[in-house]
Amino acid sequence: MSDSQLLPTGQKKINHLEMIEISKFFPGVIANNRVNFDVKAGEVHALLGENGAGKSTLMKVLYGLYPPEEGAIKLDGEQVVIGSPVDSIGLGIGMIHQHFMLVESLTVAENVALGLASTRGPLTDLDIVSQRIQELSEIYGLQVDPKALIWQLSVGQQQRVEIIKALYRGAALLILDEPTAVLTPQEVDEFFLTMRKMMDDGHALIFISHKLHEVLDISHRISVLRDGHMIGTIPVEGATKEKLAEMMVGREIGLKKERVSNEKSEKKLILKNISAQSDRGTPALKGIDLEVYSGEILGVAGVSGNGQKELAEVITGLRNVTSGQVVLEDEDVTGLSPKELINRSLSYIPEERMRDGMIKEFTVAENLILREYDQLPFANNGFLNLKNISTHSDEMIKSFNVKTPSQETTVKSLSGGNIQKLVLARELFRKPRTLIAAQPTRGLDIGAMEYVHLRLLEQREEGTATILISEDLDEILALSDRIAVIFEGEIMGIIDREEATTERLGLMMAGVVE
């Protein structure tokens, strides 16, 4: 650690920041209940907790986005008032949000420049901003093109923009809310390099993640939130995954299910030489060939943005192919509508669950029939059968252990984990013969993740043919029978699980052909 009171960016360090007795309510929820938390220069302080525990809320209070109901914040011993992001930015606090705060239709430089004074007074000085972006990129190894439009960037690149935004504003303390949830293992490694560099320079870092090995890898201290309460803070020395998990959920977990080996029986789903375009009209899939058998989980590993989304959408009828053929249960289903595929007992757990998989303003009950709203027993002759729908919801909520005040609650007020359980409940209840599961555990806490895995394996035993699309190699390795790696719209190879290692997959994901 350097002893200077200045950071390489020229900013003053934040030596010690303390949050004292912070409480924050939402309608119906106490998100933070008298929470204490602190972070020091040159350290990474991790914040753990289940979905909905109150981590993001606490950080948003620190960043000035939410006024707390009570509590105080001290910076280097002095009490400060943070009423808005203007205050926090002024104090040297930066935040990388769980959901990126970027204006998609603007360029990188414009996003960085937004809200800052310009050297040209009222006129923008994007050229100067771009230069400075280049400088920062070099210091911290964050390559990004200042002229690129945000929507054209990959998620990893977008994250770099977020970090540059914070550094550009002279952040001495950086809040990182689940920054790794959307990154590939390689990207995580690069990201950790950046984090270590910042740490060594004397930045104070707050790190939120659901991945315990990451937390153990990079943090100095670890705090755990549960149900809005601070459970405790421990140094990384002596901390174990088991201990942290127990602190988070308040009980021991370990739902490990033994995989029984199924015999491959019939070919359920065959993709023949599939090509398709992305939303932007660029080629996204280039001649994909895949076969999935019943009772098998085929893992599709790959860095996000290499055609996974398009692959899932082509199979589910949400995207047209430019060439090739999709064969489902010996029938050519290329070009069929989503409706017709739903009727063929194809289930789909979409990657963007809040956008594609759920209607936020609909109730839990309404969302649970989303895929079969017009079929018996939910509807008859065009009329909804509210009684059946209600009974069904109650059953689903119970058997999938969904935490919701009632089936009449709108989905938008549920936590991410519970929303995912709803998607799962809906898609698995249908007893699908074929299942496409895209990033089914992204952003979920370990408890919820184990639960999802359990369900997927159960489904496998029932004979479902599953395509599991995931960036999480641990997940892929834990669940798949065979693993296909996708890179730039092509399948780099398909290997049996027994032959797969993280290293081998990682190389393939980076486009290295065997």
């Binding site: 939402f26 948003k60 960043y63 986005l65 939410y66 808005s84 992001p85 203007v86 930015i89 935040m95 949000h97 705060m101 970027l102 204006v103 998609e104 239709s105 603007l106 414009e110 996003n111 420049a113 937004l114 809200g115 800052l116 004074a117 310009s118 009222p122 006129l123 923008t124 935004k165 504003r169």
Partner: protein, 310 residues
């Protein structure tokens, strides 16, 4: 029949009149463009225009100074804009509806004031066409471009100012960001409310000038409901232009030139029922949008009130 159109008088007439007729649309649409770019739909433009038209007219009449009139119109529009801003930003009212409320309010109040303060239709001597030495005397070109009053030129100047502000200034950057992603703007310390207050009250001011351009420059009278739907067309033109000032200007010019064309169709005794002639600008505006298939998205946050955490 058609050849009747290709006379100098007709073509010059259509273009010159189109340029002039577009004036009130331009002011109002450019103002509305700013509001919508920042995420607020103001359907009360027509009411703001009427009050602006009245204020301009009445103050010009009583003070004898057109510039005071213009200033009064701007102030009136500004106040109406601030009202709209308060209701949509602080009270988070449904924008489509509050706009209609402000429209009715402006429609009624301008009429009421007209009746109480003036009682009957009178005229003022409004802004006169500016004479540009040499230029104004040029054949054709002089007629088309150098024979208008100051507010007509002002309208076109505003288009370029708007383009410049939106694309070249930090303010424009903030406006666009607030309209596309208020959360992102907010997280960088850009005050969403401040920006929206600014754009909506500016929009109100522009609507006020649009009204003034009618009452003290183009028509030189005030009468109840004299805008008769012009403000709503101005809002529609913002959609037509896909929220881009230059394209909005294109729409305003298209609409008003076709309107002027339909007047010529009647004057030239082309045997089309007058009702169909009057329809032309509306039909053609829709057709223009169909054939130039656009992929422009509205600002993502349009009509959505902003509140942290939502």
């Amino acid at each position: 029949m058609i050849e009747k159109f290709f006379t100098e008088a007709v073509l010059v007439g259509i273009i010159a009149s189109g340029i002039r007729l577009a004036t009130p649309y331009l002011y109002a649409s450019i103002g509305e463009t700013f509001g919508q770019r920042s995420g607020v739909l103001n359907l009360g433009v027509e009411g703001q225009m009427l009050l602006g038209a009245f204020a301009a007219f009445y103050v010009s009449l009583t003070t004898g100074n057109l510039w005071f009139g213009l200033l009064a119109a701007m102030l009136t529009g500004l106040i109406m804009g601030l009202g709209m801003a308060f209701v949509s930003i602080n009270l988070q009212a449904v924008q489509g509806i509050s706009g209609i409320g402000f429209y009715l309010f402006g429609l009624g109040l301008s009429d009421l004031l007209f009746q109480k303060l003036m009682g009957t239709v009178v005229t003022v001597s409004g802004f006169r066409p500016i004479y540009f030495p040499v230029l104004s005397d040029l054949p054709i070109v002089g007629q088309i471009f150098f024979n208008h009053n100051i507010l007509v030129y002002g309208a076109y100047a505003m288009v370029f100012v708007a383009w410049f502000v939106l694309n070249k200034t930090t303010l424009g950057l903030k406006i666009k960001a607030v309209g596309e992603s208020p959360e992102a703007a907010d997280s960088l310390g850009v005050s969403v409310s401040k920006i929206r207050y600014l754009t909506i009250s500016f929009g109100g001011m522009m609507s006020g000038i649009a009204g003034a351009s009618l009452s003290i420059a183009l028509l030189n009278v005030f009468q109840q409901n004299m805008t008769s739907g012009l403000g709503f067309i101005a809002v529609a033109l913002v959609y037509f232009g896909g929220w881009r000032p230059i394209a909005v200007m294109g729409g305003a010019l298209l609409f008003s030139m076709v309107n002027s064309l339909q007047l010529w169709v009647q004057v030239l005794n082309i045997p089309i029922p007058s009702d169909f002639a009057v329809m032309m600008p509306y039909v053609l505006t829709i057709i223009a949008l169909v054939v130039t298939v656009q992929r422009v998205r509205p600002p993502s946050a349009l009509t959505k009130p902003f509140e942290r955490g939502h």
